[in-house]
């Protein structure tokens, strides 16, 4: 039996415990331990992703108890794509966050919390069990609350509380949906629920779907439910905001897609839901971009930009659900392309923004005037990522937006994408002009003494930004990877079959 599906969860969990142990016994080695754990986890993730991309779906029964009684995990090409994103995420965030001597309790716990957060995200990605999914969503929530609510940081307690309330509503709705599905079908294993889903009465199926969409809508910031995100990211600070937005948010998108396509069988049973998602996607793009344009704070601006880009992903998803059949693979691939691109671009933007904000000790855009001349590496990375996220032609961001637009069947979504691009050109351009002002104020305040390693950070950020730009020019390789991943979501036959073997047991 191939143990990779369970190892991607268990290794970072054990790693988080080890980091805490090391921190208590030998505090000096904590950063090393965190880096080691991140490396081990990323290696496992890459191995699992490779296996999921190349072979048939990988199924795992924890404790050798097969589906109806036990918990099964699975890695197929669709989850492999997100495992790849997580591998980038854990390693990069460990590299960026190597600290120099912050001994506050928050700094001590945050390394373990980040390892646990990525463990939870991996768990969400590999699990094929509804209740297990709920537990990992809760674990991710608890970890993110800890990362948001730092002590002695203005507004962070309130932001943490708001995030906790939002997460509580979201968790309750998810639990409600799982409960309805369990009572109606008698199982929580996704393949078996998928088999029973077409026979469910319409109102049960509809309520479960609605609860799941609202629950994950809160997590990913669908527009009426996005209220907590900008405040939270602002309070969390840029390094954590990058982790929450670039990686946490994407995995919740993954969970939403997986639940809609697989256990709920929404494209067959409830295709109307995709029209709602289409409208929500357009609303997200317009709201996110216009709020980002009037925003005066860099972190909040980036947060609203994240909300807008969830809209692009949703447009691709909605197109896929509305077309159905084999054409849906292209639309899902477009959505996945934008997901991957946004992960690279937004993490590069947040982390290079970290350096700028750190130098000027303020995240207000007006206070960042002329900051570019003090951190050239960061501003180069920021500009590259900004070019990509606006969608200037040769970059990966352009390619992904182009594919999403190509997948649309109607004119209106394409127009919305175009309008969003123009608005984002305005606000990123404005920031660039302010940051490169020729007349920098004579004296910036002295930088905050607790510095992360600036060179290493700049290198990581540059690598991410360059990857985001280059992805647009490496069209062929990227496209074959994406199509393979999208097939995993749309054609589930290759893993529904083996999972059902356990049924006769």
């Amino acid at each position: 039996m191939n143990h990779l599906p369970v190892l991607v969860v268990v290794i970072p969990v054990a790693g988080a415990f080890l980091i805490s142990l090391v921190d208590t016994v030998r505090p000096a080695f904590k950063s090393t331990a965190a880096l080691l754990v991140a490396t081990a986890h990323s290696t496992t993730l890459v191995a699992a992703a490779y296996r999921g991309m190349t072979g048939p779906a990988l199924l795992y029964s924890v404790g050798e108890w097969i589906a109806p009684v036990g918990i099964s995990l699975m890695v197929d090409s669709f989850s492999a794509f997100f495992l790849l994103l997580l591998a980038i995420g854990h390693l990069a965030s460990a590299l960026v966050r190597i600290e120099s001597g912050d001994r506050s309790e928050w700094a001590r716990k945050s390394a373990a919390l980040i390892a646990l957060f990525f463990a939870a995200l991996s768990g969400i990605t590999v699990t094929a069990d509804l209740f297990n999914l709920f537990i990992f969503v809760e674990l991710a929530t608890v970890c993110s609350i800890g990362l948001i609510a730092r002590k002695r940081h203005p507004g962070s307690a309130v932001a943490g509380f708001v995030a906790l309330m939002a997460a509580t509503i979201s968790g309750a709705l998810l639990l409600f949906a799982v409960l309805v599905l369990y009572v109606a079908t008698g199982t929580v294993a996704m393949p078996l629920v998928a088999q029973a889903a077409p026979d469910l009465p319409a109102h049960l199926h509809g309520m479960a779907t609605a609860a799941i969409i609202v629950s994950f809508g809160i997590k990913i910031g669908l527009v009426p439910m996005h209220f907590w995100q900008p405040r939270t990211y602002h309070a969390a600070g840029t390094t954590v905001a990058a982790i929450l937005s670039a990686f946490g948010l994407k995995i919740h998108v993954y969970a939403l897609l997986r639940l809609l396509w697989f256990p709920l069988q929404a494209p067959v049973v409830l295709p109307g839901v995709y029209s709602i998602l289409l409208v929500m996607g357009m609303v997200n793009i317009l709201t996110g971009h216009s709020m980002a344009m009037i925003e005066r704070n860099l972190v909040r601006m980036l947060a609203f930009s994240s909300i807008a880009h969830v809209g692009y992903i949703l447009l691709g998803v909605a197109a896929a659900g509305r077309i159905g059949g084999s054409a849906a693979v292209y639309a899902v691939a477009a959505a996945l392309f934008h997901t991957g691109m946004h992960t690279l671009m937004k993490s590069a933007l947040f982390w290079s923004g970290h350096r700028l904000i750190h130098l000027s000790r303020s995240s207000r855009i007006m206070d960042l005037g002329g900051i570019a001349w003090r951190a050239p590496g960061s501003i180069i990375a920021f500009s590259l990522a900004a070019l990509a996220i606006i969608g200037i032609p040769p970059t990966g961001g352009f390619a992904s937006k182009w594919f999403v637009a190509m997948a649309q069947q109607a004119l209106l979504p394409v127009l919305v994408i175009g309008a969003g691009t123009v608005i984002s050109l305005v606000y990123y351009g404005r920031f660039f002009l302010i940051a490169t002002r020729r007349d920098p104020p004579d004296s910036f305040p002295a930088p905050h003494p607790l510095s992360l390693r600036p060179r290493l950070q700049t290198a990581v950020v540059l690598a991410l930004a360059v990857a985001a730009v280059m992805a647009g020019t490496r069209d062929v390789q990227v496209r074959s990877l994406l199509l393979r991943a999208a097939e995993g979501l749309v054609d589930q036959a290759d893993f529904v079959g083996p999972a059902l073997i356990g049924r006769g047991r």
Binding site: H3, V6, V10, V13, A14, A16, F17, L18, S20, L21, T24, V25, Y60, V62, G63, E64, W65, P68, V69, G70, I71, S104, E105, W106, R108, K109, S110, A112, L113, L116, A119, F131, N132, I135, F136, L139, V142, C143, I145, G146, A149, R150, K151, R152, G160, F176, L179, V180, V183, A184, T185, G186, T187, V188, L192, A196, L200, H203, L204, M207
Partner: protein, 251 residues
């Protein structure tokens, strides 16, 4: 003009009405779901557990068999959630600072010092007999944590810190957590799956005796240790939280 009293009353009425509506809808939906299941599939999930769990796991408590064997991965996840919330509490509240030395009255303390050893019997019984009688590592662990809190409340935080230092709590939590994850690997090394019990060669024993259920008693013990240490260290962080960093309200 509405008076504020009426407005508050109306708000509460609306909120109460909405809550009632939501919970009614919830109940109706669940009843419907149950009816649907009864029509289509008679039983799919429960029967394997009740019919086979004793033979397959060696634990005569079906609930423990599910928690610690069939769905042990969920239990590992839940234990990790507790670990994470301890870390979150520590990150938000900061290092436990000046513990207060307020104690209960003399009579209570004398009485408690005679009774406390007896109090410890119950959680230990619940943990060690998790596979034989109701309860298990989680319930026993929480009871142990409550006892630690009782020591703190009755004899003062300083005494509590002397008897059970915070460092020991933290170390035993991490140790138990690592042990819990590590036991899962035994299954992998035995050629079975992660967290496998009988399939990994753990002896099933005679059902109904203390040494039965394979790895279940050990998992119960580790979960109990971890939960007890984790929850009581949340209390220690909370009790040692210095209130003065809360900004005073200016007059």
């Amino acid at each position: 003009m509405e008076s504020p009293v009426i407005r508050v009353f109306l708000t509460r009425l609306t909120a109460g009405f909405l809550c009632l509506l939501l919970s009614l809808g919830f109940v109706v939906l669940l009843l419907d779901a149950g009816r649907h299941r009864a029509q289509t599939i008679p039983t799919q999930m429960e029967e394997p557990y009740t019919a086979r769990s004793v033979a397959e796991t060696g634990s005569i408590n079906v609930v423990t068999a599910i928690l610690m064997d069939y769905r042990a991965f969920d239990t590992l996840g839940e234990a990790t959630v507790i670990f994470a919330s301890v870390a979150v509490a520590a990150a938000i509240l900061g290092k436990p600072g000046s513990p207060s030395n307020r104690t209960m009255g003399l009579l209570s303390r004398r009485q408690l010092s005679a009774l406390l050893p007896l109090f410890f019997i119950f959680p230990l019984f619940v943990i060690f007999h998790g596979h034989l009688s109701p309860g298990g590592g989680f319930q026993g662990g929480v009871s142990l944590a409550v006892l630690v809190i009782l020591i703190h409340v009755a004899f003062g935080d300083r005494f509590g810190e002397e008897v059970i230092p915070h460092r020991i709590l933290a170390l035993s939590e991490y140790g138990a957590a690592i042990g819990l994850v590590g036991i899962g690997f035994v299954g992998i090394f035995q050629g079975s799956a992660y967290l496998a019990n009988v399939a990994a060669g753990f002896p099933r024993g005679t059902a109904g005796t203390l040494a039965s259920g394979g790895v279940i008693p050990l998992l119960n013990l580790l979960v109990g240790m971890k939960v007890a240490a984790g929850l009581s260290s949340i209390y220690v962080h909370l009790a040692g939280h210095e209130a003065e960093n809360v900004p005073e309200k200016r007059r």
